[in-house]
Symmetry: C2
Subunit: 296 residues, 2 copies
């Protein structure tokens, strides 16, 4: 509990996560691009850094929870970034979902300064962040993983060291391919069934416990039936993941016909103005293609 924590990125995920660490008794210094976002945490006892470099100078373990690869690069490696303030022996944990290639490059840069890095993307969404039940997929060396484990344990339940630097992101991206398969299958099946004249509510009850079932079918299926397209997980975030998957697959030379098709469908949804909807809104692309509404 003597490790001082820096927390950079106070969005839907970062805010409850940093609060958990504060409540657990850690000394926490926060920073956010929009400073107003830090106020509730500062009122609850967090320090407020002037910049990512300043946060790093005041911390032993620095967590970043921002958006895309370029955002992580910005707060870690550019002017006033973590790398300018972090002292030898400190550790950086990036919990965003970004490119494994970018992540490995940042780990190398930090290592030159004697700073260890872990990539530790999460699954479980905003509910997981609020309830500290996130699954955490960690890439990095075992000693740093063990050092940071008490921090992870305040944020999530299912914590796994999956491999060296970058492996956490790779594991997360592979998980997002699973999600793409499930969600596209659900959207296609529902529009197919509705267009054929089936009562979708009856169909859902008949198949939801069968061999076609998935976490997505049982949680997102009812939302689609109810016409609820609010965001648990935003289209633009799954779209970003699928772009990262394509970039990584491109580097490795792995053809991904299904994940690639799903990325194109999310782009169609983006062009329809659906980027801030929940990713179950993928069904809207199919509804538009087939001229039918998959609702009860």
């Amino acid at each position: 509990m003597n490790e001082r924590i820096g927390f950079i990125g106070l969005g839907i995920m970062g805010t409850p996560m940093s609060r958990h660490l504060l409540n657990a008794g850690f000394q926490v210094t926060v920073w956010n691009r929009t400073p107003a976002r830090a106020r509730p945490l500062v009122e609850a006892g967090a320090g407020q850094g002037k910049s990512p470099a300043d946060v790093a100078a005041r911390s032993d373990i620095i967590i970043t929870m921002v958006g895309d690869s370029s955002d992580v690069e910005e707060v870690i490696a550019r002017k006033n970034g973590v790398i300018e303030g972090a002292k030898r022996g400190s550790a950086v944990i990036d919990m965003s979902t970004i490119s494994p290639v970018t992540s490995r490059m940042l780990a190398l840069k930090l290592a030159e300064k004697g700073v260890q890095m872990l990539d530790a993307p999460v699954t479980g969404g905003s509910a997981g962040a609020q309830n500290a039940t996130l699954s955490i997929l960690v890439g990095g060396d075992k000693a740093t993983y063990e050092r940071c484990l008490p921090v992870f344990q305040k944020l999530g339940k299912n914590i796994t060291l999956v491999g060296p630097n970058g492996a956490g992101h790779t594991a997360k991206l592979a998980n997002q391919i699973l999600v793409a398969g499930c969600m596209s299958g659900i959207a296609e099946a529902m529009v197919f069934a509705k267009k054929a004249g089936l009562d979708l509510g009856v169909w859902f009850e008949a198949v939801k416990n069968g061999a076609g079932t998935s976490w997505h079918l049982t949680t997102q299926g009812p939302k689609v039936l109810d016409g609820d397209f609010s965001a648990g997980y935003m289209v633009k975030h799954h779209r970003k993941d699928l772009r990262l998957i394509q970039e990584t697959a491109h580097e490795m030379g792995v053809p991904l016909p299904v994940a690639s098709a799903v990325l194109q469908l999310y782009r169609a949804l983006q062009s329809m103005g659906g980027d801030e909807l929940g990713h179950q809104a993928l069904v809207k692309v199919y509804e538009s293609l087939a001229r039918v509404e998959a609702r009860r």
Copy 2:
């Protein structure tokens, strides 16, 4: 229990199904294209029909459990078919998975003779047939459904009247789209993760309870990891379902980019000689494309 049952098609599914009916005390008459297949059932007390027409003449409810649309057409509507022997007031239940269009056409032909028809495809595979735990998706009228319910209850657990004639097949095909989404996502994710250098066993444990999970991930994932490509559900059968899905989607004008891609991948697997493997062998196509083996 006074209804006499005819059972046509004694394959992996039909053999245990007809035995359940025999054990339940029904008078059962069987027929199979290869007559030797009928022997164990005849020894157990079943009658043996000379033809589908002969089976129909000796039965009140005639069940067909054969292969594709053309097989069902053959045993019902062609020479020596059910339609030649079935008496007014009898009922035909087709439990194969075939085209909803063919099924509706057969229902109309049988109705002209005063014979009711239900389509009642199943999910749950050979284990479901053996343990009488099949899910049964029924299309047809409510009175015929209720008449046949005591028969269904000897064969499965989750029995649903999903709509009029053809609706059972449509519901089953929509379920097979769910399966295609799950299975392709799993195959792509595993090959992606393996090519990126992850330990697939560690990855599987880290994600199997998360948002990307599915019945397929937890049951087929371990088989892939162990290099077990034996058939619970054969490639050629899922390939047939996906072809029927495309035919039906073509009739309705529903674009299905993901299910269509998966059909092409199964065709690749067919060309690799994998038609009789289990459908988890879809991963072999990706392994071939990416030059990597997704095994432990």
